[in-house]
């Protein structure tokens, strides 16, 4: 094999690795839920002057300036949201972006942790996520994360609730088809936290996961639970390389 062909093979391997869930034909068949939205909802997301999530972003900007600018610069936070959930050496656990914000608050700002799904936490999350908009999802490569990611994959495949559905049955096997008129997305977390029109408000990936779980009549995991962190880890790996669009709008 010539050097050029070796390089080609290496490149193809790297591409396949980046694509993760690439189709049999070898090209990336993954698509963001954005592509299945109506043009008007897409316009709402594209235009920052219309996107209601920007209300939370501007709140987050103020909170960031008040509490976080002492240590962090805005520029240093590019890509942070694209990398989380990430390994936290101090607690020897993976932490989601929301958990990281609260760890930072309790450890360094000496402020009380913000409640899950509170406007303050969502605002900071949205502001941080905006700093990664346009960047590819780049999951943390720490080896210690492997068992947690595997647990997330198991949970994704596991049947839940009275209806006995797993995440994979809809979002892998039947993505692109319809469930009671609504398109089933491939469930790539590229835009969280999102402004969901159905909620008339902002919500995190875990809120969305809890929605799905109550949809199959399962008892949802608690906010911030290890299960959700594991599922988030797996979902971010599954969507690795896809472009961040936070803060997104969803119907």
């Amino acid at each position: 094999m010539t050097r050029a062909r070796l390089a080609m093979a290496g490149l193809a391997g790297a591409l396949a690795l980046a694509a993760g869930a690439a189709g049999a034909a070898g090209f990336d068949t993954r698509r963001s839920g954005y592509e299945d939205m109506s043009p008007s909802t897409q316009a709402l997301q594209r235009d920052d002057t219309q996107n209601p999530a920007m209300l939370w972003v501007s709140d987050g900007e103020q909170r960031f300036a008040a509490d976080c600018l002492r240590c962090h610069s805005v520029a240093s936070l590019r890509g942070v949201a694209a990398r989380h959930p990430a390994w936290d050496a101090a607690s020897a656990k993976p932490v989601t972006l929301a958990a990281r914000i609260n760890l930072c608050r309790t450890r360094h700002v000496k402020a009380p942790a913000l409640a899950a799904e509170s406007d303050g936490l969502l605002a900071l999350e949205a502001y941080l996520a905006l700093q990664s908009r346009g960047q590819p999802l780049a999951p943390d490569g720490t080896l210690a994360l492997r068992p947690f990611r595997a647990q997330g994959e198991r949970l994704f495949q596991q049947r839940f609730g009275q209806l006995e559905f797993s995440c994979a049955q809809c979002h892998d096997d039947n993505a692109g088809r319809r469930l009671a008129g609504a398109p089933i997305p491939q469930a790539h977390p590229t835009g969280y936290p999102i402004y969901r029109l159905e909620w008339q408000g902002m919500g995190s990936l875990q809120r969305r996961l809890r929605n799905c779980m109550s949809g199959v009549r399962a008892e949802p995991f608690a906010y911030g639970s290890d299960e959700f962190t594991a599922i988030e880890l797996y979902l971010k790996q599954r969507a690795a390389g896809m472009v961040m669009e936070s803060p997104a709008v969803r119907p």
């Binding site: 002057t49 219309q50 209601p52």
Partner: protein, 107 residues
Amino acid sequence: MNIRVLIRLPATARPGEVVEVRLLLQHPMETGFRPGADGRTVPRNTVRRIEASFEGERVFAADLFPAIAANPYLAFALRATRSGTLAVSIEGDNGLAQRETAVLTVT
């Protein structure tokens, strides 16, 4: 308590140009018809009226009703003739009375 309001308009405009003003309000727009978690009706809490004036001249006014979704978005056109300040006043339930301003420069 003040609500968060985003006013977007171009920073500069040519004389006679029609510019679009966009308002985005962070407000729950609680209808007054929904039962809360305890089964009791959640009291109405909506924005009732929005008025915008440019240098003292009324350019836009709207009454808002419970059928309008949370975080209302409103847009209106404005003919820019001179530089000045756009003042937006927002009134609603729970004593909401707020004034926001934005500057338009005509060159």
